[in-house]
């Protein structure tokens, strides 16, 4: 009886494109650059391809979620901090931008970066108590912050209460609005990808894998977790600020569960740890979610259940599967 096992090998072209050998020929170059080019060009061309303003708006919303999914993946799989409350970043960034715009009269081009930086500082400080501790505490605290923040705003009737802050300025034109957020998404996608391979990114990954060794190397773990949280919350607040300028309104719904759960579902579907997978996951989930908006909160049920299914059946995600197929091939081998 012949026994076989599956063997997985790197494709020849992957090995041939290792480091400098990528320049050997057009074929090798395109093997490396094609996926990235397709992604970039595809996203940039989208606003022209979709029918009508409604769908262009959807693309902007997709990018907002994509940024959230990106930072969820970054924090969870490259630093080891699972954030169950992405909505908190959106809410903080959104309210800050709205306040800066309506009270101080600053234009979006100023409020967005300001909201990102101030928001990052606020979020990092608020999350500081749980950083020296095990990951489960970070999950608990991030889960609570958006829920409690929404209740506080509602109960104390501050910051516009349940009505929210109206009359927020929008972008100077729809094309600016559209491409600003798309560019931000691409910028941070490739930026964070670069970051995790730089020296400081290695420290983050080491903190996730093996924090005792990092401590024994004289590095203050809490400091680097705080840096990672600062970066991630900055991006989150930035996307919240953009959202507020798109909707021209800021309210309690910024803290809603959508923003907390959909990024997680997108990450799980798109492929955890790949950074581009979560972005793709958003491109799939957000349009479906928008279509389901007519059914009320059923959409949240929908992607919660998908999330549970993926986690429980430990599916690897689209991009992980895709990358595996792209870089490696499988064959049956006699034992």
């Amino acid at each position: 009886m012949e026994e076989r096992r599956k063997e997985r090998l790197d494709r020849g072209i992957k090995i041939r494109t290792d480091k400098i050998y990528a320049l050997m020929s057009w074929r090798e170059l395109s093997y490396l650059t094609m996926p990235r080019l397709v992604l970039i060009v595809g996203i940039l061309m989208l606003p022209f391809v979709v029918p009508g303003m409604y769908w262009q708006r959807v693309i902007s919303i997709v990018c907002v979620y994509a940024l959230l999914a990106l930072i969820f993946d970054f924090l969870a799989h490259f630093v080891g901090l699972v954030s169950l409350g992405g909505a908190f970043f959106i809410g903080v960034g959104g309210y800050l931008a709205a306040i800066l715009n309506t009270s101080a009269g600053l234009p979006p081009i100023v409020t967005i970066p300001l909201a990102a930086l101030i928001g990052a500082a606020i979020c990092t400080v608020l999350l500081l108590p749980c950083l020296p501790l095990r990951g489960v505490y970070f999950a608990i605290v991030t889960l609570m912050y958006p829920l409690v923040a929404a209740r506080i705003i509602e109960a104390l009737d501050i910051l516009g209460g349940t009505d929210g802050i109206m009359g927020v300025e929008s972008f100077s034109s729809t094309w600016t609005e559209q491409y600003f957020i798309i560019l931000m998404t691409l910028l941070f996608l490739f930026g964070i990808r670069r970051l995790v391979n730089m020296d400081i990114g290695l420290v983050f990954r080491a903190v996730k894998d093996n924090d005792q060794a990092v401590r024994a190397s004289g590095i203050n773990i809490t400091l680097y977790k705080a840096i990672a949280v600062f970066i991630a919350s900055g991006v989150g607040c930035l996307s919240g600020a953009c959202l507020v300028h798109i909707y021209m309104w800021s309210g309690i719904s910024l803290f809603s569960l959508d923003f907390s759960i959909l990024p997680i579902a997108a990450t799980v579907i798109g492929g955890a740890g790949t950074l581009v997978g979560p972005v793709l996951g958003c491109f799939i989930l957000v349009p479906i979610s928008e279509l389901l908006r007519a059914f009320g909160t059923l959409r949240i049920v929908f992607y919660s259940l998908i999330l549970v299914a993926f986690i429980v059946f430990r599916s690897e995600g689209i991009m992980v599967y895709g990358q595996r197929k792209y870089h490696q091939f499988e064959r049956w081998v006699k034992i």
Binding site: P129, R134, G135, V141, V148, T297, V301, S304, V308, V312
Partner: protein, 288 residues
């Protein structure tokens, strides 16, 4: 005096909410973020039996508690057990299930203020000049009863001792022949039933709304963290601490701040003493 009475009532209510969560975490190390969902579902099940089907109230209550216990055990058996041991996946999965249930209830038509359960006994008596309704006194009595029952159960019955053994040291329990997977399912069943018990006791004091699911989750987690994850005694004491703190803020600052108190309690605990009052995870485990 009023503070004393209402503080006690509030504290017992918190303890009831938290004990189910503490039980499940203590035994199977699963932080069940769907706890709040189970709470609200019990309310709706009781309502459906009582007002919808016309079953006697005194019978609807135990039936719903049993049903929710079974539902919880089934959820664990078929879904959560597959991610057993992977901390972050457990949290995400149980949270997602909880959210799916709660938002599903929100969509499924259980909207608005019209869903209530009647109190067990109408009327009130005066204690030291403060009117206290009977139902609230029943809550306190039931709470005390639950704690005593739990103590008795985990110290003197076979299953209870097995659960306690698992809570203390899972590997040792495995070596003694205790099936940890099955015990975890049992624990989840009990925890869900406790959530259901809390629901039937506390929901008559207000309306059945989906929001209370999230509130209960936050409060249960706050109590368990302050008391120490995994310690039942700690949970009870923490419930009193937070309960009285909440009543004090209501009296002196206004009733909006109750959730803030819970959140502040969590943050303070994490800063000062992360393992909580009686937590068993000290030092090596609490600091990564």
């Amino acid at each position: 005096m009023g503070i004393l009475i209402y503080g006690t009532i509030n504290s017992v209510a918190l303890a009831l909410m938290a004990l189910g969560f503490a039980l499940v975490y203590g035994i199977s190390r699963l932080p069940n973020f769907g706890h709040g969902a189970l709470y609200v579902v019990t309310g709706f099940i009781t309502w459906s039996f009582f007002r919808g089907l016309g079953v006697n109230y005194l019978i609807s209550i135990p039936i719903s508690i049993i049903i929710i216990g079974i539902i919880g055990a089934l959820i664990y058996q078929f879904i959560l057990i597959r991610v057993r041991g992977m901390a972050t996946s457990e949290i995400i999965a149980s949270y997602a299930i909880g959210v799916a249930i709660l938002e599903g209830l929100r969509w499924g038509g259980f909207k608005g203020m019209t869903y209530t359960l009647p109190v067990f006994l109408e009327g009130s008596i005066d204690i030291g000049g403060i009117p206290v309704d009977f139902h609230r006194m029943i809550v306190v009595g039931a709470g005390a009863g639950v704690v005593i029952f739990l103590w008795f159960f985990t110290h003197h019955t076979r299953i209870g001792l097995a659960l306690r053994g698992m809570a203390q040291d899972e590997r040792a329990s495995l070596m003694l022949g205790i099936d940890s997977d099955f015990m975890a399912v049992v624990a989840m069943g009990f925890g869900s039933a406790l959530a259901g018990l809390a629901a039937v006791l506390l929901l008559p004091l207000g309306n059945i709304v989906v929001e209370s699911g999230y509130n209960v989750l936050i409060l249960a987690i706050a109590v368990c963290i302050v008391g120490g994850l995994g310690s039942w005694m700690g949970a009870v004491i923490a419930a009193f601490l937070i309960g009285f703190a909440q009543i004090l803020t209501v009296v002196y600052l206004g009733s909006h701040f109750q959730m803030v108190v819970a959140l502040l309690a969590i943050i303070l605990t994490l800063i000062l003493r992360p393992s909580g009052l009686f937590g068993r995870q000290k030092e090596l485990e609490e600091r990564v």
